[in-house]
């Protein structure tokens, strides 16, 4: 648990501890059984919170027209697929409530599960404490938890309201802490909230009275007066909260890093192998889903021929589905497949493949627009030409630009080019404005497949995959090998210095003056101009990075992680 440390007089410093650690702590105490219970319980807590949230959601949609609109669109909620089209837009990804409260509830449930541990002792004032047994019906239990938390929040409010005027304002505008407000309890300070929560716990535990608490007594209870105003405020509140949460540079997450995990990073290959070994969950159901989608193939063909283009959306890789479509239906027709997820794909390459492979035109074009014009002309002249274009991930990094979308849209508006594409990104539809949409003439198909994005993510520079390491090493050696001996020496010096300082987290880099001194001592350069020339070369190859410190001194850094650097030095030593 968090350990409060007195620092100065009265001020409390609180260390942030992630839930997982708490969880671990508890798990160690109570064993696996508790952990299992916890997952179930937390699930039900979440459900409860969600219900509450729905209530508040409904309230926010007070603008009648909006409601009407939602209702109008939801008129055919009795969807045959039952695919949740009944979810009104307001409930999804609204700027509503980041579930910090969930987390707290989760935490609470965990705490409650551990018999008589910490929180319970602190809250002797709540009479329900005695009823707090895991055996009590879960609903009641949850209500209790909620109550405890609203108490917590209330007390917290009183406690902290007076610390800063800024916070005061926020607290005042925050929704009143009745039960349902639990979920509304807002995000604005979601990061701090946790901290405060812990602080609360710790203060209660230690029984200390902070000076803030006594001051807080002068604050009038804001609940009743503000309850009416809440509704009007809410909208602006949400906006405010969003920006507040995003403007604060302070981030309160744990400082743990993957390196401390004593865990080697997996490289692409082992990752692939491991995943292959891991059984795919729900294979049968996924197969069934796919079969459902495959039955639509003939319909797609028909609609493509009638001048519509088809876009597929939904969770899961649609690559296999499109591949199957291609092999089963498009076998005998001219088609090109565009792998949008490929990191170096461009519109130009798509157009090139059309002009060169389909139209068999040799020659280059001044600009993609010229090329497009040429293609349009050719297709208009020759009505027998037909082309199917399959684009996996139309929303990928490379294709999502405005110009490329414009070109693709114009291409797809040709009557003899049939486009069938897939999108995955949640914001993908934002790529298109009215004009493009009308050019694309989309028909939307929901094809949720749940199949893993194997191909699509393989090119991604995932944080967790050790990918850059080997590449960086080889590039380092390659670049350095082409340099002079002196230049290599200079780089070695810098690398060694950086490794020596690797344990210093605030290592700013080697300052230019020091570096020059060292180089001179090693007889590597004779003037700072030559050193500068060398550094420019390094910089061009992205081997070093320079930044100016607060004192205006230039600092040099090698932007490669330490392990790679060590490897590199070892290798260099071998070579020498």
């Amino acid at each position: 648990m968090s350990q409060p440390e007195g620092k100065g007089s009265g001020a409390l410093e609180v260390k942030f501890v992630p839930d997982e650690e708490v969880l671990k702590h508890i798990a160690d105490d109570a064993g696996i059984k508790v952990r299992k219970d916890k997952t179930q319980l937390s699930a039900s807590v979440k459900r409860f919170v969600k219900k509450l949230e729905n209530i508040s959601d409904d309230e926010t949609q007070e603008i009648l027209e909006e409601k009407k609109y939602v209702a109008a669109l939801g008129i055919c909620a009795q969807d045959s697929m039952g695919n949740g089209s009944s979810v009104s837009g307001g409930e999804v990804y609204s700027f509503q409530t980041p579930k910090r409260s969930n987390k707290m509830a989760e935490l609470a449930s965990e705490l409650a599960q551990t018999p008589g541990h910490s929180v319970a002792s602190g809250h002797s004032e709540c009479p329900e404490k005695t009823a707090k047994t895991p055996q009590s019906s879960s609903k009641y239990m949850l209500l209790l938890l909620m109550h405890v938390f609203s108490l917590l929040l209330q007390s917290k409010k009183k406690e902290f309201v007076s610390t800063t005027p800024y916070r005061l304002r926020k607290r005042l505008t925050a929704p009143d802490p009745y039960l349902e407000s639990e979920s509304e309890y807002s995000a604005s300070c979601s990061e701090e909230e946790d901290e405060e929560d812990r602080k609360e716990v710790s203060t209660v535990l230690s029984g200390q009275k902070t000076p803030a608490k006594t001051k807080a007594a002068s604050v009038p209870p804001p609940r009743n007066t503000l309850a009416k105003k809440n509704k009007e405020d809410k909208m602006s509140n949400l906006v405010e909260e969003y920006f507040e949460a995003h403007s604060s540079s302070k981030v309160l997450t744990s400082d743990r890093t993957l390196q401390k995990l004593r865990k080697r990073r997996l490289n692409q290959q082992t990752l692939h192998d491991l995943l292959k070994k891991a059984p795919l969950a729900y294979a049968a159901e996924i197969k069934e889903l796919n079969q459902q989608h495959e039955s639509l193939f003939s319909k797609w063909m028909l609609q493509l021929h009638l001048g519509f283009n088809i876009v597929l959306y939904g969770l899961g890789s649609k690559r296999n589905l499109l591949e199957k479509f291609r092999t089963s239906v498009l076998q005998d027709s001219v088609h090109i497949v565009v792998n949008g997820y490929f990191p170096s794909i461009t519109v130009r390459s798509i157009l090139n493949s059309i002009t060169e492979e389909v139209l068999e035109h040799i020659g280059t074009f001044r600009s993609p627009l010229d090329q497009l014009e040429f293609i349009i002309k050719r297709f208009k002249e020759d009505s027998s030409l037909e082309l199917y274009v399959l684009i996996h991930n139309l929303d990928s990094q490379m294709l999502r630009g405005e110009r490329s979308q414009q070109i693709l849209a114009q291409l797809s508006s040709l009557p003899s080019i049939y486009l069938i594409a897939s999108i995955d990104h949640i914001n993908a539809p934002l790529m298109w404005d009215q004009a493009k949409l009308s050019l694309y003439n989309w028909l939307w198909y929901e094809t949720t497949t749940f199949s893993p994005y194997v191909e699509e993510t393989s090119y991604e520079n995932s944080l967790l995959v050790q990918q850059s390491g080997s590449l960086a090493l080889s590039s380092l050696t390659h670049v350095l090998r082409s340099l002079t001996l002196n230049a290599r020496g200079i780089f070695r010096l810098l690398a060694q210095y950086q490794l020596e300082n690797k344990d210093n987290p605030s290592y700013p880099g080697l300052s230019f003056q020091d570096f020059y001194q060292q180089c001179r001592e090693a007889f590597l350069v004779n003037s700072d101009l030559t050193l500068r020339a060398q550094l420019t070369e390094f910089r061009d190859h992205k081997l070093i990075r320079t930044k100016r410190g607060a004192d205006g001194v230039e600092y040099l850094l090698i932007p490669v992680d330490d392990s790679t650097l060590t490897d590199f030095l070892e290798k260099e030593d071998e070579d020498v």
Binding site: K46, L252, T253, E285, Q406, Q434, T457, E460, S462, L463
Partner: protein, 686 residues
């Protein structure tokens, strides 16, 4: 074309029907469009003609010189449905090309980021169109444009002079092609398709430059405006806008356009295909709430047709009555079975006597006869429906507050949805009709007579007669009313004579009483009668379509499909898939109630759920650990405490996959703020 997967023999027929129907409808819509735009274009052309008549006369008066700095400009206010403008402009330039001038340039904002690009584009279009007109001189001009001569106004003027001179001196054969239809020196028309999105600088420069050269070059500008004409003045400073001689042209609003389309496509017996209530509602909603685009409405309509013919095997009967009757005779046994399976037909069968029921269900031939009869019924129903609907609309559209809607489409929807006479709105509108004054009522009745008279069905003869009778009664009433007024006037005169208070009171009372009784007997009685009659008409003819037998053949009513295709919600789909995988994967293990999720859900769902708990930044280590706890809880307690800090490789790999999938979906992105952290991109969520 593999239409229909049942591979029955009439798929081709169905497809052919579908195609022919669609082409008919397309033709119709184009015609409507043309008619609607005709007025506008005529005005525009006359304006263009007029604008440069002076130029041709080559008057050199001083006043003209003063005035001639101004460029004649037509501001075309087209409304917000930008996507439809393309079509309008295309037909406009076509019309201009055909009977006004060959020199037209269509400019779009996205092609013209700077004045140079604009000039280039302008030159190319002008020269190309010249090339198009007489292609004999291809070589000259293609060369010119490819040499990328310096694009300036002077070069355009030179080009223009050379072109006009040529046409003057050309052989008669050439003249026939270019100048017979066009006037002697046709003006150059430059159309700015989307005036609002041009950068002001470009526009200003262009206008200033071209106003310098207006003497040599008869230039006419056309601005396409989506918002309001005020935009010209806010975009251009006074010094520039004073160089323009603007005339405003207002195109028909898209709403009116839509009502005409609905009127011509849906409320007519010309096309056998009909839209059901929900489908129509969806289409109209998309129109009103999303894009105001008539084009999209028509596209949706097309989709409905395709969908209907694709999914409904009996849609083969969805054609003109005569054809349908023929086709009924050639129905296969399977198709007959299909008919028997229709819910509306089942209802019909159940209402019959038992022998007939058996016959209907077993004998194909008898069934076919019945079908023919039913189709005929349906056909007549449609005819009558439209006429009576229009009548009712005449009544309701003049009422205050429009309880049944202002537009006929609203009334149409209401009638299709349920029995309209059951609704409160209908009740209140009848109340209001009962309060109409006589002159309104008479005009309305006259309109109804016209509508009913023009409808083809002869069923309405009696109705028309009845209505006419009402009219004559009203006229009679009028005559009586004249007399009555005389009486009342005289009585009032009497009143004035008497000064006695008691008598006055007495006569007033008398008068009041008599008036009340009189009104009830004459005009009001008649009015009630009329209202009752209309009510009976409505009850007779405006039965909702889905109460009719075999309505499935002609009415398309699966709105959910349509909505899914046109107004999809990819975010909602993703959200449901991530939050509630049971919706898609029908596995009992995933089943859960409320908003919670079982811990056996696919990896990505678990990871997603966990990430929702976090704030702006997410620590990957914490995330991974949380994930592995959940996963291990599922897999059972075989691995004990030792594994809690050394995460299993497989789980690690699964986590990596899930996280990178989330990254692909755009929920997170790598962050450089802190090591091993990712930033959350969505805010909130459930």
């Amino acid at each position: 074309f593999g239409e229909g997967n049942n591979a029955s023999e009439d798929t081709e027929l169905r497809f052919a029907t579908c195609q022919s129907l669609w082409s008919q409808i397309k033709l119709e819509t184009e015609q409507i469009q043309e008619n609607l735009n005709k007025q506008l274009f005529d005005n525009l052309i006359s304006f263009l003609r007029q604008s440069h008549s002076e130029f041709q006369e080559k008057t050199t008066e001083w006043t003209y010189q003063m005035k001639s700095r101004e460029i004649p400009t037509a501001a075309l206010v087209l409304g917000v449905n930008v996507t439809d403008h393309d079509l309008t402009f295309r037909s406009l330039s076509e019309i201009l090309q055909n009977n006004f001038t060959p020199y037209i340039a269509l400019l779009e904002a996205k092609d013209c980021p700077g004045i140079k690009n604009l000039m280039q584009k302008l030159m190319r279009q002008l020269m190309n169109c010249y090339v198009d007109v007489d292609s004999l001189e291809d070589e000259d001009y293609v060369q010119v444009s490819q040499n990328r001569i310096r694009c300036s106004m002077t070069s355009i003027i030179n080009w223009y002079e050379s072109v006009t001179k040529k046409t003057d001196s050309e052989t008669p054969s050439k003249k026939r092609t270019s100048s017979s239809r066009h006037c002697q020196s046709p003006p150059v028309v430059v159309i700015f398709k989307d005036m609002e999105s041009f950068t002001t600088k470009v526009l200003q420069d262009f206008i200033v430059i071209s106003s310098q050269h207006i003497h040599e070059l008869p230039l006419v500008l056309i601005f396409g405006i989506a918002t309001s004409p005020m935009i010209i003045h806010s975009l251009l400073p006074h010094s520039v806008s004073s160089l323009l001689c603007i005339e405003l042209f207002q195109s028909l609003s898209c709403k009116e356009h839509l009502s005409t389309i609905i009127d011509k496509l849906l409320l007519t017996t010309q096309f056998p295909f009909k839209l059901g209530e929900k489908v129509l509602q969806v289409l109209i909603n998309i129109f009103l709430y999303h894009d105001f685009s008539v084009q999209n409405f028509i596209k949706g309509f097309q989709l409905c047709i395709v969908e209907h013919f694709y999914s409904q095997p009996l849609s083969v009967l969805c054609c003109q009555l005569a054809d349908a009757k023929k086709r009924v005779n050639s129905l296969s046994h399977e198709q007959c079975e299909n008919v028997r399976r229709l819910p509306s037909f089942r209802r019909y069968v159940e209402s019959q006597v038992s022998e007939k029921q058996i016959a209907l269900l077993t004998e194909d031939n008898f069934l076919k006869e019945v079908i023919q009869k039913l189709l005929e019924d349906l056909h007549f129903y449609n005819e009558n429906y439209v006429s009576v609907l229009r009548c009712l609309h005449v009544f309701t559209s003049s009422l205050p507050k429009y309880p049944l809607g202002k537009q006929i489409r609203e009334l149409h929807c209401a009638c299709l949805e349920h029995e309209v006479w059951e609704t409160e709105e209908y009740e209140s509108s009848l109340q209001l009709v009962r309060m109409l004054n006589k002159s309104d009522l008479v005009t309305i009745l006259q309109q109804c007579v016209e509508i009913l008279g023009s409808s083809s069905g002869n069923e309405f003869d009696k109705t028309v007669e009845k209505l006419k009778e009402f009219l004559t009664q009203f006229q009679k009433l009028e005559a009586e009313a004249f007399q009555e007024r005389d009486v009342s006037v005289s009585s009032q005169k009497e009143l004035q004579k008497k000064t006695d208070l008691y008598h006055l009171q007495k006569t007033l009372l008398e008068l009041k009483e008599s008036r009340r009784s009189k009104k009830l007997t004459k005009f009001e009685m008649l009015r009630f009668e009329v209202v009752d009659y209309i009510d009976s008409l409505v009850r007779n003819y405006l039965v909702p379509a889905d109460h009719k037998t075999l309505h499935e053949i002609m009415y398309f009513n699966t709105a959910s499909v349509l909505r899914g295709h046109l107004n999809a919600a990819p975010r909602i789909a993703l959200h449901t898939a991530l939050n509630n995988p049971y919706c898609y994967l029908k596995n009992q293990a995933l089943k859960s109630d409320g908003g919670s999720m079982s811990n056996k859900a696919p990896d990505i769902c678990i990871v997603y759920k966990l990430h929702l708990e976090c704030g702006r930044l997410i620590n990957l280590v914490d995330w991974l650990e949380a994930f592995s706890t959940v996963v291990m809880a599922v897999e059972g307690p075989n691995a004990d405490a030792a594994s809690s800090d050394q995460v299993d490789d497989t789980i690690h790999a699964r986590f990596i996959r899930a996280v990178s999938e989330l990254e692909l979906l755009g929920f997170i992105k790598p962050s450089k703020q802190k090591t091993d952290h990712v930033a959350r991109l969505t805010w909130g969520g459930c």
